[in-house]
Symmetry: C2
Subunit: 302 residues, 2 copies
C-alpha cells in the first residue's frame, strides 16, 4: 500500500491559496518527499502526515520554488527530535546547494546523506522504495522520478508441500533466502512465482516534453506532471520558459499508457486551471486537475 | 503618515494559521521590512502591500524563522521587474548568510546593498526613515530596531513676512535651504520652529530583557515585542532559550513609557495567547495580543 499526497500545485511562487508543487509518499513507515518549496512544511502539517518520518527527499532541480523550504523543514524535523539520518537525492550540485542553504540551519540532530545523480537514468533502492530518476529538459539540469514498490511472486504452498518442506522454512523462502533442509539446498525460485505488478507513481516537473518521460512514466498507476499553462495559446511561452501545456502533458500520459494523470505546477496567472481540463481530456480521458493535498492510496492489484 | 503591518506573529516555525513574525512599514512610497521567515511573502500578498516597493530589509538575527523566506522573496521581487537596488541591514555576517541563501537565487534584476551593523547602537538614515539599531541578548547576535520618522519645526509665515521674504523663497527654506535675497543670506532657522515630535515604532525579537530595549523603545508610539511565553510558569524556559514572557515585555513597555504594546513571536505551544493577556495588562494596560496582519497608521500629532 502506497499513500500519495500532492502537497501543492503551484509553480514559480507560493500563493495565499496555492502551495508550491511537492509530493509526499508513505510506505511501511518510511516517508519520501519530492521537492520542498517555501511553505511545503505548512501544507504537510495541514495534511497531518509526519515530517519526522521523512527518510528521503528527492529534488527535481534547484530553482527556488522547488527547494527554498528545505532549511525550514530540516529545522522543524530537528525540533521533532529525529536522530536517524535523512538521505537527500538530486542532480549534481546537491551538496553545494544544500550547504549554501544550511547557513541558517548549521546544527541538526541528524546526519544528512547525499546521493548526487550522475547518469541520465539512475535507480536507487532505499527503504523499500525503488526510485528511478530520469533526466528532463529544463533551463537547468532537472530530473523526473518514478517511485516503485516492487512485488515479489506469489508463494506456491502446494509446491512447497510437494517438496516436503516444513512450514517453519516457508517464511525464509518468501523473503528470498535459500534454505538447507535434510542436507539439500532449496532456492526461493522453487516455490515463488514470477514477479507480479507492483505500484508506480511518476512525478515530472519542470520540463519540456521529452522521450525520457514516456519511458519513465510507462504504465504508471499515477502520473503527476506539470501543466504550467492551460490555454493552448500559451504554447509559445511553454517553449520559451521550458515548461509544458496541458495538451503536452496529456500526450505524454497517453503515450506512456498510464492509468491516471494529475496536472500540477500551475502558473500564478492560471487562476482557474479547471477551465482547461477539457483540453487535456480530449487527449487523455483520465486526467485530473491537481489540488493541494489531493491524495490517493495505491494497492496491489490482487 | 507611517503605515505599519505586523505580517505574522509566530516563532520557531510557520504554522497553518500563524505566519512567522515580521514587520512591514510604508512611508512616502518606500516600504521597509524587518525579518523575512518562510511564508512572509505570502502573508504580505494577503495584506496586499506591494513587495515591489520594498527598498530596505532589516534582519534582527539569522535564525531560520527570521530569514528563511529571503531567497523566495527576492525571486518574487525580481519577477515584479524591479530594477532599483535594495538595501539589506543586519548583524555581522549578513553578506555571508545572504550569499549562502542566494545559491538558489543567483540572478536578480536589481542590486543588493549591504549594511552590516558593527556598533551596539547604530543609526542609519535611508529614504526618509531614521533607523536606530540596538543590540539585544539572544543565543546569537541580535538587534532591535526603532523606525523613526522625524518631523521638522513648523514654518513661521508671519516671521517670513516680517523679514520681507517673497513667497517663492518659502519652499526652499522649508526644505532646509539657506537662501540669498537682496544680497543677504537667510538661514532656515530664522523661519522654522523647533523640531516637533515625529513617529516611532520599535520592534524587538528574539531576546532576554535588556536595558537597551528601554532606551531603544523610549516613548515609542508603538512597541512590538516578543512574548514567546504567556504562562508565567514558563519563566525558566524563557531564561533557558533566551526569550521573554508577557510579563517581561510589559515591564519594558512600562519602563520605556511607550504608547502601545503589541505582543508577538508566540511559541507554537502557545495556542491561545489571549488567555494570558491579563498577565501583561496588569503591568502595562495598553497591551494587545498581536494578530497576523494587524495594522496601524501613525500620524503626526498636530
Amino acid at each position: 500500500m502506497l499513500d500519495i499526497c500532492l502537497l501543492g500545485t503551484g509553480g514559480m511562487m507560493p500563493l495565499p491559496h496555492r502551495w508550491l508543487t511537492a509530493l509526499m509518499t508513505r510506505f511501511r513507515g518510511s516517508n519520501l518527499l519530492i521537492d520542498c518549496g517555501e511553505g511545503t512544511q505548512i501544507t504537510m502539517k495541514l495534511q497531518g502526515w509526519s515530517f519526522k518520518d521523512i527518510d528521503q527527499i528527492c529534488f527535481t532541480h534547484y530553482h527556488g520554488d522547488h527547494i527554498s523550504g528545505l532549511p525550514g523543514l530540516l529545522l522543524s524535523i530537528g525540533n521533532s527530535d529525529r536522530t536517524e539520518p535523512i538521505t537527500l537525492i538530486g542532480p549534481k550540485g546537491l551538496l553545494k546547494v544544500v550547504n549554501g542553504l544550511r547557513v541558517i540551519a548549521p546544527e541538526l540532530p541528524f546526519e544528512l546523506k547525499f546521493i548526487e545523480l550522475e547518469e541520465d537514468v539512475q535507480t536507487i533502492e532505499i527503504n523499500g522504495y525503488v526510485i528511478d530518476a530520469f533526466k528532463l529538459k529544463h533551463k537547468i539540469t532537472c530530473y523526473g522520478y518514478s517511485i516503485n514498490i516492487l512485488r515479489q511472486g506469489k508463494f506456491d504452498a502446494i509446491k512447497a508441500k510437494e517438496l516436503g518442506l516444513p512450514v517453519q522454512y516457508w517464511s525464509k523462502l518468501q523473503h528470498g533466502e535459500t534454505i538447507v533442509y535434510n542436507n539439500k539446498e532449496y532456492a526461493p525460485e522453487l516455490v515463488m512465482g514470477g514477479v507480479r505488478k507492483g505500484l508506480k507513481v511518476t512525478y515530472c516537473t519542470d520540463t519540456r516534453p521529452v522521450d525520457n518521460m514516456v519511458y519513465g512514466a510507462y504504465e504508471a498507476d499515477l502520473f503527476i506532471c506539470e501543466g504550467m499553462y492551460g490555454e493552448p495559446t500559451e504554447q509559445t511561452n511553454a517553449v520559451a520558459y521550458k515548461h509544458m501545456t496541458f495538451q503536452e502533458a496529456a500526450t505524454i500520459a497517453r503515450d506512456a499508457k498510464v492509468e491516471e494523470l494529475w496536472l500540477t505546477h500551475f502558473s500564478p496567472a492560471l487562476v482557474r486551471p479547471k477551465e482547461y481540463l477539457h483540453v487535456a481530456k480530449q487527449i487523455f480521458t483520465n486526467t485530473k486537475i491537481g489540488k493541494d493535498r489531493m491524495t490517493k492510496t495505491l494497492k496491489f492489484s490482487d
